[in-house]
């Protein structure tokens, strides 16, 4: 793997950059791999990387389209670990610690920016809920700080903190170690590092079926032929239900639409990530200057990756209510991802009823922040055949047993989240 | 010159409706009720106005005595809902234009005319529209929403003289 560095950039620049090699190969699939990973998004590529790096296993990643083209390329890039429930806190904090060293580990700048993620509180009740969340985090050793209205204003000068606002700001809760990252770079960085360790990344290769013998998976059928496998991991986000269905499995997930959009770029105006305890919109500004906005899902199941304009209009209205100066900025580009929603809003790490067929999915709309941790834990699961400790609360069986991890407390219906 | 087809909202009058009692009739099962208006329609009957509002639900307004006289039917339940809605009469031909602003249903279609009912959302408010005549509709909203909603309409009407469709090039 050619090393990336400022010095090498300079040297290559002297030669017109003609010496750079491909970041990853396009190999023909081999006949058999110890592990086949279905899904070339951030989670799948991270899994392949850690499988090679920590367990010495050179897997194949099969991706039906181009890598990072699913939710990894469609999210609003927010990274944080400030969830309420201890199981989620542990999972995401593990991931956050990996984020902190990720660019150097991969030798690919994923632009992980710890600029702070703020939850706004709009009433004393909100502030009590934020304090509760913050206290739970601090007891778990995760950073959380309550902010007064003046402190929030200092961090976000363009926030409307007047009493005339529709939902006046009372204060906030900040995770200073949270922030954003460049989503495409995460996929590309893991792909390059995994490829350098011998992982075969096979794009334009859609899984069309499974080879199952005696209740055990032995390989995958793909658009590029049969590939034998000792173990298979499904990590395809919004397509989880579909791919698991190819193995005759019915997953407790529903695929929904989540939209997001950006504005035309302007000079810096918002330095932190803004979220709200009461409003379902979130705002940040990319390093390119574009304001990144998102809000509620569209609340109906669909694979189309397109939502309705009313949701965009609603998010625009809320964003202007929080930061009035946004009004004259123009929406430049919108898109949607397919989120796999589970009955409690938390992910799934488990072996399926088909032996050696494992699944990592159900990340709803919170998967990006977990990318490195998800890969690390799923790699351990695929290497050992056993779910890793941090992932153990997220088994498939929890819905039947009642041991659900319901962060939002809104129950099993995805449209209530 | 804006042709009549696009009568503007500049000459609308908005007048609160007061003094009516309101009764909701709801069928208990899938039985038909031929005496009551079909979906999307309203009828005047014996001093009451009866409107279809959703499948199996009708809303009647009138004086209490007239409402009480509506024939009792073992398959229909009667609910006093006088406090549930606040009414505003919109008088003037520009009501069609008014309903298009911030709205989502086709009030400009001539097929939506006297005797027609629509339920829609506008400015975050659930809205029931009852077309009384070519130059009059009645709008009903929950009372808690009424102040803000009718403010929205007053502001829209007050933008007098503003052309709502472009003149010829």
């Amino acid at each position: 793997m050619q090393r990336y560095s400022a010095w090498n950039l300079f040297k290559h620049g002297l030669r017109g950059h003609k010496g750079w090699q491909p970041a990853w190969r396009s190999p023909e699939p081999k006949a058999h791999y110890d592990v086949v990973i279905i899904g070339g998004g951030g989670h799948g590529l991270a899994t392949a990387y850690y499988l090679a790096k920590r367990h010495g296993i050179r897997a194949a990643v099969v991706e039906k389209s181009w890598i990072g083209g699913g939710n990894t390329g469609r999210n609003t890039t927010i990274v944080r670990s400030n969830y309420r429930l201890p199981e989620m806190q542990a999972l995401l904090e593990h991931a956050l610690k990996l984020w902190e060293g990720l660019s150097d580990e991969l030798n690919y700048n994923v632009m992980f920016s710890q600029r702070g993620a703020i939850f706004l509180g709009h009433s004393d009740g909100d502030m009590a809920r934020l304090a509760e969340r913050g206290d739970a985090l601090r007891c778990a050793g995760i950073d959380a700080e309550l902010l007064s209205r003046a402190q929030v204003h200092k961090l976000i000068p363009l926030l409307d903190i007047s009493d005339a606002a529709r939902f006046p700001i009372v204060g906030g809760l900040i995770q200073r170690r949270g922030g954003t990252a460049r989503h495409d770079a995460v996929a590309w960085g893991y792909a390059r590092a995994a490829d350098a360790l011998g992982v075969d990344i096979i794009q334009q290769c859609e899984v069309t079926g499974f080879a199952i013998a005696g209740g055990r998976v032995t390989g995958v059928e793909t658009s590029r032929g049969h590939i034998g496998a000792g173990r298979v991991g499904i990590v395809v986000a919004g397509n989880s239900g579909h791919v698991a269905g190819l193995a005759g499995l019915r997953l407790p997930v529903e695929s929904h639409i989540l939209q997001a959009f950006v504005t035309e770029p302007v000079k810096p105006m918002i330095d932190t990530v803004i979220m709200s305890q009461s409003l379902h919109c979130y705002i940040s500004q990319s390093d390119k200057g574009e304001i990144v906005l998102g809000g509620d899902p569209d609340f109906y199941p669909s694979y189309t990756q397109r939502g309705q304009p009313m949701r965009i209009e609603e998010v625009a209205g809320q964003a202007i209510g929080l930061v009035p100066a946004l009004s004259k900025l123009r929406m430049l580009r919108g898109w949607a991802g397919t989120t796999d929603m589970t009955c409690d809003g938390s992910p799934i790490f488990d072996e399926t009823p088909v032996a050696d067929l494992h699944i990592n999915g159900g990340w709803c709309y919170g998967g990006f922040k977990a990318t490195p941790g998800s890969g690390w834990l799923f790699a351990e699961q695929l290497a050992t055949g056993r779910v890793a400790d941090l992932a153990r609360p997220f088994g498939l069986g929890r819905f039947a047993s009642g041991a659900t991890v319901d962060e939002a407390g809104s129950g099993p219906m995805p449209h209530h989240r | 010159m804006i042709p009549k087809a696009h009568a503007t909202v500049t000459e609308l009058a908005l007048t609160p409706i007061i003094g009516h009692a309101m009764l909701r009739l709801v069928r208990l099962d899938a039985a038909q009720h031929p005496g009551l208006p079909p979906p999307g329609r309203a009828v005047d009957s014996a001093g009451c106005r009866i409107r279809w509002v959703e499948p199996g639900h009708w809303l009647a307004t009138g004086q209490p005595a007239a409402l009480a006289a509506i024939a009792v039917d073992v398959d229909l339940a009667r609910f006093d809902v006088s406090g549930s809605l606040t009414g505003m009469a919109v008088i003037g031909e520009g009501w069609r234009e008014l309903l298009m602003i911030g709205g989502v249903f086709d009030a400009e279609a001539r097929t939506f005319g006297p005797g027609c009912i629509a339920r829609t959302i506008m400015h975050h408010t659930p809205l029931l529209i009852d077309c009384i005549g070519d130059d009059r509709v009645e709008a009903w909203v929950p009372p808690s929403h009424a102040a803000e909603f009718f403010d929205f309409w007053h502001n829209t009407v007050a933008r007098r003289g503003r052309r709502l469709s472009a003149p010829l090039p």
Binding site: G13, K18, W24, G73, D104, N109, M111, F112, Q114, A128, A131, D135, A136, A140, L146, A164, R166, D184, W188, Q203, T263, P265, V266, K267, M269, L279, Q285, K288, P309, I312, E314, G317, I320, P324, A325, K328, L329, R330, M331, S401, G402, A403, T404, G409, P412, H416 | A5, V26, L28, D29, S82, G83, D106, E108, H123, P143, F152, A166, L168, P169
Partner: protein
Amino acid sequence: MSGYRLASGGLVDRTRPVAFTFDGVSYSGFAGDTLASALLASGVSIFGRSFKYHRPRGVLSAGVEEPNALVTAGQGGRAEPNTRATDLFLTPGLVATSQNRWPSLGFDLGAVTALIAPFIPAGFYYKTFFGGPKLWRFFEHFIRRAAGLGPAPRLADPDSYQHRAAFCDVLVVGAGPAGLAAADAAAGAGKRVILCEQDAIVGGALLRDAAEIAGLPGRDWAAAVCARVIAAGGRVLLRTTATGYHDHDLLTLGEKCAEPGEDAPSLSAQRLWRVRASRVVLAPGLVERPLVCPGNDVPGVMLSGAVRTYVQRFGVAPGRRAVVAGCSDDADRTAAALRAAGVEVVATIDYRRGETLDTVKGGNRVSTVIASVGGMTRSFACDTVAMSAGFTPSVQLHMQAGGTLAWHDGCAAFVPATSRQAQVTAGAAAGIEGLAAILASGWAAGGGDVADAPQTRAERHCCHGFAPPPRGARTTAFVDFQNDVTSRDLDLAWREGYRSVEHMKRYTTLGMATDQGKTSNIAGLLQLSRNEGRPAPDIGLTTFRPPFTPVTLGVLAGEDGGLHMAPRRVLRLKAQHDRHHPLWQPLGYWHRPRAYPRDGETLHSAAMREARTVRSNVGLSDVSTLAKFDVQGPDAGAFLELVCATGIAKLAVGRGRYTFMLREDGMVMDDGTVWRLGDARYLLTSSTGGAARMEAHLAYVRGVLAPHMRVAIVEVQEHWAAFAIAGPNARSLVETLACVSAPKHMGCLAVVVAGVECWLLAASYSGERAFELYVPGDVVVPVWEAAEALLHAAGGALYGLEALELLRIEKGHIVIGAEATGRTTPHDLGLGKMLRVSGGYCGAAGLARPMLQAVDRQALVGLEADGEIPEGAMLVRAAGEAPMGHVTSVGSRVLGQGGVALALLAGGPARTGEQWLATSPTRGITVPVRVTAPLFHDPEGTRYRD
């Protein structure tokens, strides 16, 4: 050498001069000018600076595809950054400012980045800036300052925006010849027609090239068509862009009622149309492609069609000595138009003859062109280059509608193929050449008979052609002008393995600028195609999504955003409350009185006084916002036994009870009361915050779980205003008010107060003897006033939400959202004994899951302490241990001293008597607490029971 105004010609109104400023300098143009045409006429060459290298840039185009000439239009809160000077019509007093340069457009320090350009190709930032997140934050600070184009807005926007719905039989997008013909045909056939056009005047290509249509000069024909459309009841919308084609033929159109930067306070500045059409005719025309060659971005290099537009429509010559380089008849037309305007055409370079434009030289302005002409390399001195690498049909809206594309070899671009919705593409955008054919295609798309299509005798004018990508990618051969993506960047991306069209786009940022790739997508595709050795149609395009051109957040929000992003719901009795100057508390969309402080009282002292008054005398509180449902029918009781997890059916007429409702997973969803008002009539109440959820749940149970039942449910939240009268003296107040013997605890009675028929319910939330009076909302005022009068006579007090909290906490009543977190079962909350033994309620099956019976689950307890207990604090046995629960609600002893609280704690009531710590690291407080039963006042309930 630079541009100048021609002595005559153009469609601008020379009798109406318009004054404006650009970067503080005063200029004058004419009505009908864009900012770009007026500045060109005034001799301005440099309009902006590119994103990365800060290269000086002139205006490239005459339309919305402009990547270079971005300005901030207007000032203060009205300033609209990143406005294309080509899409901004002059208004008197317009203040426009250039962007992305410091200190000035002419002298921009940012240009130093050009010196290190060889070392900062596309994607360079992925290869460097290592060293950990803190170091990245340092670098990022500078990167963010260098990034962005327009200045960050700081002030609130004073403009207002509107949304408007419209429905039609035929929506025609684009009022060029094809669109006009389509609208004419449709209107003539009696259809409801809407014709929208992003320009300020109709005509499209007719504004650039005169033609005779149906015996009239093109523009007169266009005006006549519009008159016919309007006379037939249709609409012609100008300055209106179709921004999005959504599902079920819903299109969003963005209308500029005022130009960006125009001061128009009494108008809506912009309007968003939501149009539902039965059929959509897309006639958006073509976008010209720039040649990719070194120096193609020097000011003075423009698209050939744009040059012709400036000459013919705006009466502006872009320069004095021009080179025209193109690949079709269209370039010949530009050369002819320039000559007719008196501009010297130094050379014409025709790619059809194998000639090529090799290099453009110049710094702030074109000086020389090097070309391969007639087999030789020649050099031409000039100040303007009109270039064309062909024309790309605008297929964005077609693709947004889910349509497919087919490759058109002649255009070297994609044209619409199959449609999935009701769209049809007409005219040049469908790959059709020649005005006669374009008119016929539009006419047919509008539903007209081809035999009746408008006729023209214009010669067939061919514009199909293409200039292939150059051999040998160069650093100054720009493909995406705004993002400074060069042909060398595209080769680098391919070399590094970013080979799908999406990877190429994201790695190089080609097509991600504000022009959304309108002038760059095809060039990028052709170069990728050559590198891949695969035909362009095999590679495809990235997905086009709304908006077609960027649209302000303000107009997207309309009047339903900002201060109006959520409705404000007002209490019926607001005026009555306001007389006592309460502190108002937001609760969802409502505001409710939190307390009624008197002379200098704090919130807490007012709430304590109010609560004490309730405990010792009598209080009155407005609880109108509670959710309420009137349930009738022979199966009403059975229905409620599905919804509620307690017994219901055994309630006698005139009796009520506390109840709670479970979600299907067994968790407590809501709680409230149910009253049997008649044999087949019940009143169900539940929490304010859960009203919408409960209404949806009841509809779900009714429609899905119990469709066979004979029951009717009507929500009556606003029909019934309600107030609570509570305290040892409540009964006498109520009996005086209603002239009736008060019902026993949990009894209900129809009463008449002040001539109004009401329901009197004997229920206690506060723990004192209490009643709730349900009064029809439309006549509540006199009843409330009568109650208030009696209240004051008794020396009682109004009490608000804060006092309500203090009272209910002492009685251990749960609140949805505090104790009932959505993760708590009835057992967790101490309600297990109330579960109906016969089962069959919604949630029974979910509740039976094994982990929901575990004994160490977090369950409801009480806490007491000497002082205040922090709400939300974690409960730990000793400092540093993991939390085993948290404090859900806090209060004070109303008739005593000390703090009390409700909490969820692992192991729950079994821990009664234990000492714990309530710790809040975020607030820096730790309070020792003792676990108690969740009941701090009158444990036997003697104060309200009979």
